[in-house]
Symmetry: C2
Subunit: 195 residues, 2 copies
DNA sequence: GTCTATACCGCGATAGAC
DNA sequence: GTCTATCGCGGTATAGAC
């Protein structure tokens, strides 16, 4: 018979991760103490160590989860018939996914330098895999003669930087809806590759 | 008669700022201790406080200097005859200026959250002034019917994010020269505004 | 202007009671 | 599984000798 209630251990662990994510994003990993995280969750410091090995593991798990989610979600996109459609789809997917997770995005790009070397290598590999999937899309379009790009690697960097930038200013309920933002950026992206 | 030698106070102050810039960029403001900065410069901790009020002032001065330099340099660009030329000029200027100061760029965008409110407001105003000068350039091009842009504010955000992204991967002596990078990005920028 | 020495605090992490 | 209490370290900043 399946368990129907989550144990308090599971929810405490989850709440610790949520609090850490919010605090790390707001103040930075190094600036946040384990005491602050405990206070945010409403437990004592010692309790944190029942749910995570140490502060470093907490950071690492958050980044890992974010990037794994990102790659999984990308994999689940329906296959596109042509490069133009694939690029539009990517643009909308990237903006939506990132705008809805601005805390995780922020720490995953900004706190890389606080990862120990082994953790850094693993997280960096995930990030590179994502960049390369966009680069492959651009290669496809160029090989089919649809995109006009002298260097698809640079173009991938350029487009990801441009699209991820949305997280720095977009706020729900602001001047523009997410759908409108996706349309405007989608237009610039299409034009920038020569469509 | 003018002084011909700089006092040791002046050079120590300068060296402290250089060391702080490098260390803050590498490890993050919160992760760097005043002891580390002193060691990097080769003085004792107490000496730092002869040249700066406290750690916060050190960070703030670095950001202030970077953004003031940026706006000054932008002001000194020769006037452009038309929007297309102005946009090309801006692209090259932005990439070159930022690629050559990756440490200052990094802390000026990443350590904003570590500024006390009053300092944040002043630094943020400088950053906004820079963004607005690009937006005005885009408005000009759109009003002249040369650029095809539905929202120049978003376009300015998008282009700055794209161009600043160069600092995350560009290294002198790498696969591409800075001039080539400027050309490739310049091409994407032109196309993205409809040229 | 710089150094030595130090005050005082908060940090990450752990031990042991419950 | 959580709390209380604590260890040992390193943090920012300052005082006073030279």
């Amino acid at each position: 018979m399946a368990r129907t209630r989550t144990s308090s251990a599971e929810t405490t662990g989850l709440r610790i991760r949520e609090a850490a994510l919010r605090l790390f994003a707001r103040h930075g990993y190094a600036a946040v103490s384990m005491r602050q995280i405990a206070a945010e969750v409403g437990v004592q410091v010692g309790t944190l160590y029942l749910h995570t090995a140490d502060k470093q593991a907490l950071l690492c798990e958050l980044m890992d989860a974010h990037l794994t989610d990102l790659l999984d979600a990308l994999d689940k996109l329906p296959p596109a018939a042509d490069p133009e459609t694939a690029l539009d789809q990517f643009t909308r997917f990237h903006i939506r996914f990132h705008a809805q997770r601005s805390d995780a995005v922020f720490i995953s790009y900004m706190e890389l330098r606080n990862l120990e070397p082994a953790n850094f290598a693993r997280v960096e590999a995930l990030r590179r895999a994502y960049e390369q999937s966009l680069q492959k899309l651009l290669d496809w379009g160029r090989d089919e003669g649809r995109f006009d790009l002298p260097d698809t690697k640079l173009a991938a960097y350029a487009l990801i930087a441009m699209l991820t930038g949305v997280t720095t200013w977009y706020r729900e309920g602001g001047r523009l809806s997410l759908d409108r933002v996706e349309a405007i950026y989608g237009d610039m992206v299409r034009k920038s590759v020569g469509l």
